[in-house]
């Protein structure tokens, strides 16, 4: 079965600092999704990457997918308290298979 490894498991950064979260698969991915979750809430879609080498940005968050489509990184620039939460990567093997998720990275941003 496809498994996604996320690192680090948790991260505490000072407000204003940059950070990177990684998501790695042992198999080639069809699509890689990043979601954010706050405690007690559902998952909020951030970005989807599908092509090898693809990079997308939204506000201060940038996600990249490597050429082999087995690893993705999520980079936050100048972190803010509003960035705190759990970041989850999810991936599918094809367009019609359900997403499998990693265990998440818990991000805390301290003032």
């Amino acid at each position: 079965s496809q498994e996604l490894e996320q690192s680090p498991q948790s991260l505490i950064v000072q407000e204003g600092k940059n950070l990177t979260i990684n998501c790695t698969s042992s198999k080639t991915l069809y699509g890689l999704y990043w979601y954010k979750q706050k405690y007690g809430e559902g998952l909020i879609f951030l970005m989807m990457l599908q092509k090898g080498g693809e990079e997308k940005s939204h506000e201060k968050i940038t996600a990249k997918l490597d050429e082999k489509k087995q690893q993705s990184s999520l980079h936050i620039t100048a972190s803010q308290p509003s960035h705190a939460g759990i970041y989850l990567c999810g991936a599918s093997k094809s367009g019609n298979t359900p997403l499998v998720f990693g265990k998440g990275t818990r991000l805390s941003v301290i003032a």
Partner: protein, 112 residues
């Protein structure tokens, strides 16, 4: 409604009881997914509907779990003879086929 709606938001039950969790997807979304999330873990896939039929139910842990979507819209996840290990947040998501998943806020189930 505008988003995926799940009821109840919280359910406390006793071991051995029967539980139903409801999901009302975004209007027009043909695909509907159920996931289960335990504390400190990512969502674990349970079952996926395309229209009225279960396209993939490989994630259902055992035959105590069952889900239906009779009219291709609202879905109900049914758990029989609940066990303490069933305690988790049950998440529902919907999508246009093959697209981004939109999640509800989940139903937190506690089995005492």
């Amino acid at each position: 409604g505008a988003g995926v709606s799940q009821t109840p938001s919280n359910k406390v039950t006793e071991k051995g009881k029967y539980v139903e969790l409801r999901c009302d997807p975004i209007s027009g979304h043909t695909a509907l997914y159920w996931y289960r999330q335990s504390l400190g873990q990512g969502p674990e896939f349970l079952i996926y509907f395309q229209g009225t039929g279960a396209a993939d139910d490989s994630g259902l842990p055992n035959d105590r779990f069952f889900a239906v979507r009779p009219e291709g819209s609202v879905s109900t996840l049914k758990i029989q003879r609940t066990e303490r290990g069933d305690s988790a947040v049950y998440l529902c998501a919907s999508s246009l086929s093959g697209g981004e998943l939109f999640f509800g806020e989940g139903s937190r189930l506690t089995v005492l």
